[in-house]
Amino acid sequence: MAQYEAVIGLEVHVELKTGTKIFCPSSTEFGAAPNHHVCPVCLGLPGVLPVINRKVVEYAIKAALALNCRIAPYSKFDRKNYYYPDLPKNYQISQYDLPIAANGYLEIEVNGRAKRIGITRVHMEEDAGKLVHQGSISTTPYSLVDYNRTGVPLIEIVSEPDMRTPEEAAAYLEKLKAIIQYTGVSDCKMQEGSLRCDANVSVRPAGQTGLGTKTEIKNMNSFKALQRALQYEIERQIDLLEQGEQVVQETRTWDEDRGVTLSLRSKEEAHDYRYFPEPDLVPMVISEEWVNEIRSTLPELPDRRKQRFVRDYGLPAYDAAVLTSTRELADYFERCVELYNHPKTVSNWVMGDLSRMMNATGTEIGDVCIRPEQLAGMLQLLDKGTISGKIAKTVFEEMFRTGKDPEAIVKEKGLVQISDQAVIEKVVEEVIANNTKSVEDYLSGKERALGFLVGQVMKATKGKANPGLVNKLLREKLGK
């Protein structure tokens, strides 16, 4: 059987976090009552004129610079014509042949191998409205339209067909999301739709350089969905070729519940967009001064920050990559290290207990109620021997739930570590008396039995005994 290779390119839409829409002063605020954030311009009423929001251009340039793109000195808008009820004007204002930026790239790493993925172009456009169905789109009796989202600014980032596996595609999207989030021009929340991704996929026999017929996959609403959909589509296309059939160039939608891609072939020649220059908007001439001014506002981006974490904090590359995956997490880590200068210890807590509890409770780093001062404070209590490592986990969980100071929790719950030799000695003697079998095992050379005895002492003291002291006392008492 022939070996096949997939060729994948992604088109990513990102909602820009401006206060108003791209061509009118309507608010972009999320969650307003339906059709309350609209005006004659975004409703496409006759006789209105769009005017571009300066901040949209600024944000688009900022994102494009972060993606190593070349900013176009001259750029314009075009009309993309199609009929759909979420588009009141029957055309979308977009950019066709003179996009704001082109020729960029970003770096991904999959299985330890670095790879550069090209970015063909970045252009600005307006979002469409939202259709609300009752149940699924195929069974709903009618649709309801909310135009609040109409005219919200988007940038579309088109990659080169440089990815070969679903893993590479996911890594590209992760990195793209991180970079854009770092620039602060978008939240990039896939679940809320401020980051949306379509994929172009084709397959070809390995070693061949020409491209196979591609399909476009839509409706992938998570990283997991992206990988599953690509995996499915690649296998579907290979199966077709293996059976001597042809791949049909078409748009397909990912059905998350059934785990398949389905044809969206439409009878209405939807792809005949008849682009032409938007006569209501004048062209933009982007000066080098403006570009440089925007460049100077770029923050340290994920790759650079990761390198610095390895260099300055002596962290393993893996830790550095995880900690710099979002700007908020990296900021949190650095604030903790400022207060408690043991980077690897902080990293272990942030990547371990903190991430675990964030995942378990669906909490974002911005909403975590443990302040860096509190995490640092807890680590200092641990160093001083006030609490044991085991108790620290309890304190940590309590801080995560309540946001209380570690000292207060330790006091309230009576969690102070017992380091009083006399108290522990008493418990040790009891444990030795009650566990003769384990004592014999230990004396006959089974080192493991000591662990059991330590555990019994810890249990009797509700985890508060100083483990080092328990160990020492047990060994002494057992005369070894």
């Binding site: 789109i137 339209v145 004048v282």
Partner: protein, 93 residues
């Protein structure tokens, strides 16, 4: 000359339903318009830079400040049908 097929295609894209007679008329009229515009192609444009816009204007921006929204009753006053504050439209397949 453009064909009846092209007129049908454009009509479909514009969601226009045309009678056979109208198709004939528009085929002729659209062809005449294109023929008229075609004269531009006879001009020598050697050395003339391409134009994206007819007005000698550039960089007209607005600041990112929220303005007035339309009253919901005005928003929906032209809606063929409404449900609550939504526009109500036929199901789109």
């Amino acid at each position: 000359m453009i064909s009846i097929k092209e007129v049908e295609h454009v009509a479909l894209l514009a969601r226009l339903e045309l009678s056979e007679e109208e198709k004939e008329v528009y085929t002729k009229q659209l062809s005449d318009i294109l023929e008229h515009a075609r004269k531009l192609q006879d001009l020598d444009t050697e050395g003339v830079p391409p134009t994206a816009h007819v007005l000698p204007l550039q960089n007209v921006f607005r600041e990112d400040r929220v303005g007035e929204h339309l009253d919901i009753e005005d928003v929906l006053s032209n809606a063929p049908e409404r449900e609550g504050d939504f526009f109500k439209v036929p199901r789109i397949v």
